[in-house]
Point group: C2
Chain length 196, copies 2
Amino acid sequence: MADQDRKGPGRPRSARVDEAIVEAVYDLLSAGQSADAISIEAIAAKAGVGKATVYRRWPNKEALFIDAVTMMKGSLPEPRGESVRDDLVMLLQAMKNKRMEQYGRVTACLLPELVKSAEMHRVYQAAIEPRRNVMRQVLQRGIESGELRADLDVELTLLMLSGPNIAQNMLKWNPNVPSEGFAEKLVDAVLRGIAA
Amino acid sequence: MADQDRKGPGRPRSARVDEAIVEAVYDLLSAGQSADAISIEAIAAKAGVGKATVYRRWPNKEALFIDAVTMMKGSLPEPRGESVRDDLVMLLQAMKNKRMEQYGRVTACLLPELVKSAEMHRVYQAAIEPRRNVMRQVLQRGIESGELRADLDVELTLLMLSGPNIAQNMLKWNPNVPSEGFAEKLVDAVLRGIAA
């Protein structure tokens, strides 16, 4: 699927139909329905198309969900490469875009699906790996520039930056942490450490 | 419910029945069923009791799930109070107990429920707050002892320690981070920071 076909008012009708169907998946998941409980009929009805229109585009529900996860994750803006701190803040902020609350909920609703299906877990990993890799490159550059420790555990650091984000977006794990300024505070705290 | 009644071979039959019913909830959730899709009938069948036996103990499915979440979280061991680093490692390791993989999956399966129900989110928060508070007290003690920064953001730090744990337990978010030695590595990295 060519993503550039999906943008702007001039995109072809078929791309708009694809979008409506994927949006219907998000809407139903966001409303709290499990992936299991959502039928192609319900998706088609929500999108305002016929069931056959869905099946012409995706052979089954799993294939549709794969595309939905991949499109949901989207791409990240290019890091500027001037300051590791600023790039990390920018990347965390970009993950928390205007639809993040909805998407965080969607991810939460996909989890039971991920538990059940090794294929869905691979799909999820495939969808997040390009995003993880953008951050990985920022960290590698920081080691080379001397902004970060030479002995940095890059994979653990990815998790230290993303894990708190995930826990807040999906679970609102700690209601005492304000979302205002969250990315800056997290990056600065991870950079300097908590030891005296 | 008196938790001490539930341990050992001498506990009363009614406690064993309670346990079997709650275990049935875990089993069904772990198998990937959404909380929505699980019926009292299915729980009773899995536990090997009659439906009436479940209803005698819990008025409805939500009440049963509340007890299941609370019992799942359990209590944490008492920090020794000698080293903040060692206490934090101990607490993170205790969260990753022998049943953590199952429980991580259970939490994942409860998420759609949490999204839908403000009451379930309150239940989840009520279940985790005592555990969060044990860690909070360790951090406060570390500030007082001078082991941690005087200006520490305690609430953010709770999230920095727990978020990566949650993301790995529930999503295996970064398969490149080994679970061997994870608690030590995370605590040490959070303590010293990633900046050069």
